[in-house]
């Protein structure tokens, strides 16, 4: 006689099974001492927990009518925290977006944060400038629940204020191209596609460039609001130029019938993106390690962990990708002749949520492959790029 699964026993206790399943479990429990004991233990634990989740004593609850009057009487003085509203969806939304939106968009978003974290860099033409160029990708496991929505919101608001004084330009032109040769011709570097794969769509998507001068007071205020933390910047940083460039990206939809988002998973579509390394140039005086620490705190690490971890990252050349550690797993894989990072959704996620993304850097280009289900074919595909 096979035993009843723990989840079914738990649902049985809550009368959440169908009538026939409920009856089946009842019959089984009458005959199986092991399952009966297990069921009793689960029931006792559920009751014990119930007793720990009591509501605090309160004479009366506000009625919907009372609450609604207050609701219409005043709009909250603080706007709702955008990140808090986004958070509940973040786990799945991250995966939902990744295959379709593009790694470049992710890179662009990350760059906003990366602009704060770039490191003691190689000197370029001007002595006072430092250069950030992606040479490797590192995955940073983060606990979404440790991320502070309010901090993100403050940071975003302050960054938006700062960005108003920056020059932002579109780099290149978004357009559909017919094959890799045309894409190569337009971008001026070899665009690679996997061998023996149907290309459902091939597009070049415009990049973006942002440049301006740094404002010491604005930067300090940004950190004060976001971290309640004073950032001592050298006054010489004031007025120094900076530049961030995310080059145009090639995006290929591999497979058939990839245009319909709902059918993509069923059709086994895979998205391949490739782009030149995003580049950031910043004044030499930027206290990079400290900024790295604050970035790590922003994504949920406590100050001691952040300090320690920040020292282990080469901020000059590493694209730091925060991933929600509870929902995703990462591993190093050899891909396209280099070491890449494979991100997969956790195995206990619902099957329709399972996703993977493969990210690697080769010869100064950043590549990403994303799709649904088993990642093995994607690795083979990446290895066949030519």
């Amino acid at each position: 006689m096979s035993h009843i699964d723990e989840g079914v026993l738990r649902a049985y206790h809550d009368h959440e099974l169908s009538a026939s399943e409920q009856a089946h479990v009842t019959r089984h429990l009458a005959q199986c001492e092991g399952c009966a004991t297990h069921a009793q233990r689960l029931a006792a634990r559920a009751a014990w927990l119930d007793a720990h989740f009591t509501l605090p004593e309160q004479s009366a609850y506000p009625t919907p009518q009372q609450a609604y009057s207050r609701f219409v009487a005043r709009r909250p003085s603080d706007p709702p925290l955008r990140t808090l509203e986004v958070n509940p969806m973040q786990r799945t939304a991250f995966w939902r977006r990744l295959p379709t939106v593009k790694v470049a968009a992710l890179v662009a978003t990350l760059l906003l944060v990366l602009t704060l974290t770039i490191g003691p860099l190689r000197t370029v033409a001007a002595d006072f400038l430092r250069l950030f160029r992606v040479e490797r990708v590192t995955v940073l496991p983060v606990e979404l629940d440790n991320m502070d929505g309010a901090r993100f919101d403050s940071l975003a608001q302050q960054a938006q204020l700062m960005a108003e004084s920056f020059e932002i330009e579109i780099v290149g032109e978004s357009q559909e191209v017919s094959n890799a040769a045309e894409a190569t011709d337009r971008l001026g570097y070899p665009v690679r596609l996997p061998a023996d794969q149907t290309v459902d769509a091939l597009n070049i998507e415009a990049g973006v460039s942002m440049h301006g001068t740094l404002d010491e007071a604005q930067l300090e205020s940004l950190f004060y609001y976001a971290f309640e933390n004073k950032l001592d910047l050298p006054s010489s940083i004031d007025g120094k130029p900076f530049k961030v460039v995310v080059p145009p990206m090639v995006r290929a939809e591999l497979g058939e019938g990839c245009g319909d988002y709902r059918e993509r998973a069923r059709n086994g579509c895979v998205t391949l993106v490739q782009l030149g390394s995003p580049i950031a140039e910043f004044p030499d005086e930027l206290p990079v390690l400290r900024l790295g620490e604050l970035f790590l705190q922003l994504v949920g690490y406590d100050s001691a962990e952040a300090r320690e971890l920040a020292r282990t990252i080469d901020w000059t050349s590493t694209l730091v990708v925060p991933i929600p550690s509870r929902d995703m797993e990462s591993q190093s894989v050899t891909v396209d002749g280099v070491e890449g990072t494979l991100l997969t959704s956790e195995s206990d996620s619902a099957a329709f949520h399972q996703r993977y993304a493969l990210i690697w850097v080769r010869e100064g280009k950043l590549y990403g492959l994303a799709g649904h289900g088993d990642p093995a074919p994607a690795i083979a595909m990446a290895n066949s790029l030519r």
Binding site: A11, H52, T63, Q65, F71, D145, N146
Partner: protein, 184 residues
């Protein structure tokens, strides 16, 4: 279907629809948040914030998904508020400014109950976010179908996830209480 328009400009019909939505979900939402944060004023404020967030979505949420969306957002707001409060308490304690601000009706039992509820929240904040949400929601009376929607998991996995979360909660709670000198 767009339930929600600009409150200042919306038509009478839409206004009524939003009010009906408010009526239908207010009490459950408020009680859920009260269970999470333990403070009536804060629960009230967070519940109103949640409805404002819904209002700001301006019809971007499918009608069928509004309930799950509301409770998902509320849970998130609640847990964030709890976390912020814990952090604030830690800062204050570190700065030597910790003081008890709660008023108590029956000093002994209320303090014990409040202490117990605080311990429950501490344990829940240490747990996986999904597990904490699952426990708050289930022990607030949400059905398995509702849990599956709010937590975004397959309905058939709720029993297993719940059993696992409860076991984990008990383990952590007993360990914490043992640490405080209570018999496990």
């Amino acid at each position: 279907m767009n339930y929600i328009g600009d409150m200042s400009q919306q038509s009478g019909a839409r206004h009524v629809e939003f009010e009906q939505l408010f009526d239908a979900h207010w009490m459950r939402l408020y009680r859920l948040l009260l269970r999470v944060v333990g403070d009536p004023d804060q629960a009230d404020e967070l519940a109103l914030d949640t409805f404002w967030a819904l209002h700001d979505q301006r019809g971007q949420i499918e009608t069928d998904a509004i309930g799950a969306w509301l409770y998902r957002v509320a849970m998130n707001k609640g847990l964030n508020a709890l976390r912020a409060r814990q952090r604030r308490a830690r800062y204050e304690a570190e700065a030597g400014h910790l003081h008890l601000t709660q008023t108590v009706r029956n000093p002994i039992t209320e303090v014990e109950r409040a202490d117990e509820r605080a311990a429950v929240r501490t344990v829940l904040l240490e747990m996986k976010g999904r597990d904490a949400r699952l426990l708050f929601l289930r022990h607030s009376g949400f059905s398995y179908a509702e849990l599956a929607e709010v937590i975004e998991v397959a309905p058939g996995s709720v029993g297993t996830l719940l059993a696992r979360a409860e076991k984990e909660f008990e383990r952590r709670y007993r360990r914490m209480m043992t640490g405080k000198g209570e018999e496990a």
